[in-house]
């Protein structure tokens, strides 16, 4: 998987918000808000290929969470990102 081009994470008055930009995203008018953890993951995988395991590693290295729980969260998050149309 990788993040789609032009989906830039911004800090808007303290909130993490993704807005689409660029010629290929003219019709994408949704605005996506992310919590701190999702934003942390997003920033670390911008523009790279990534797997579920990469995200799990990022989580367990940075937060006090075991791999099993991290994988559950990551699975749910990736589903969310897919349905939001921001990864491919």
């Amino acid at each position: 998987m990788k993040t789609k081009q032009g989906f830039i994470l911004r800090n808007v008055c303290g909130e993490n918000i993704i807005v689409a930009e660029g010629e290929t995203n003219i019709d994408f008018s949704n605005i996506i808000s992310m919590n701190e953890t999702s934003a942390f993951l997003w920033n670390n995988i911008q523009g790279k290929e990534f797997t579920h395991d990469d995200l799990v590693d990022l989580l367990t290295e940075t937060y006090q969470v075991d791999a099993q729980k991290a994988l559950e969260d990551v699975t749910r998050l990736v589903e969310n990102w897919k349905s939001a149309g921001i990864i491919e």
Binding site: C13, E15, V19, E21, I26, I31
Partner: protein, 295 residues
Amino acid sequence: MDYYFEIAEHYIKISQLDGNIPLLSLLPSFQPFLCDAVSDEELLFGFTIDNHLKAVDKSRRHPIRTFDTGNGDTVVDKLSDGGYQYVVKNINRDACALLICDKDFRTCSCALNGSLNMQSFGLNNALMLTMAFAGSKRDTVLIHASLVRNNNYGYAFIAKSGTGKSTHVSLWLRFIPDCDLMNDDNPIIRLINGTPYIYGSPWSGKTPCYRKVKARLGAITQIARARENSIEHLSVVNAFATLLPSCSSMKWDADIFNHICSIVSDIMAKTPIYTLHCRADRHAAELCHQTITAE
């Protein structure tokens, strides 16, 4: 012949190379914004009307999109040098203006076509586009809003076309003391040292309200029709999602779009954003006034 205008405390120069129609006949709404000459360094942009201007060769541009503006189509092409070409068409899909700009919208040339009405329509729209995109680099945004002044603050109302922002503003003018209309369609917000101010402009939709006026921005309120009147203060995420689409932008140009997003964020840091769910009645105006002028 050169003409200078001051809009939102920015200076613009319009040079008319040819054409047999006097500029102010094409741009009657700009009359209140006429000002004395300034040096080229002080200009937000310079705009030349040159009816001999030709469309850029197809090998040096690629199409972005044709946008339906509600009053006609605007055809946008990106040039290989980073600039843009716009063709402004009216409701009958006749080309009224050809606009060619550099990537910063600092230097623009425009050819006009057709009857007085067509040329006037084309020129007004070409200037509005240029103002919006040149302004984005100078902490300035055009917002699709109706704007009322009360107690030296400007209160902007946004909504999808036809939802009744003008109607709501007319209720303020009728029932709230000491109010005046600053603009009814496209006022301009500008951050000065981080503080948002809102200005009248030469673009005011169907209401002829072209005023060189300025006020501190008090609040921005989205109007939504409802059976009962109520008002909510929007969270950051909702406020951003509400405000961003009301500001003139070009999301295919990362540079300009980034500027617009940060201006909107900076406006929100200093300005409460509301949604007013309302009927078109006196109580709606009173509830809104009482709430949004309290901050």
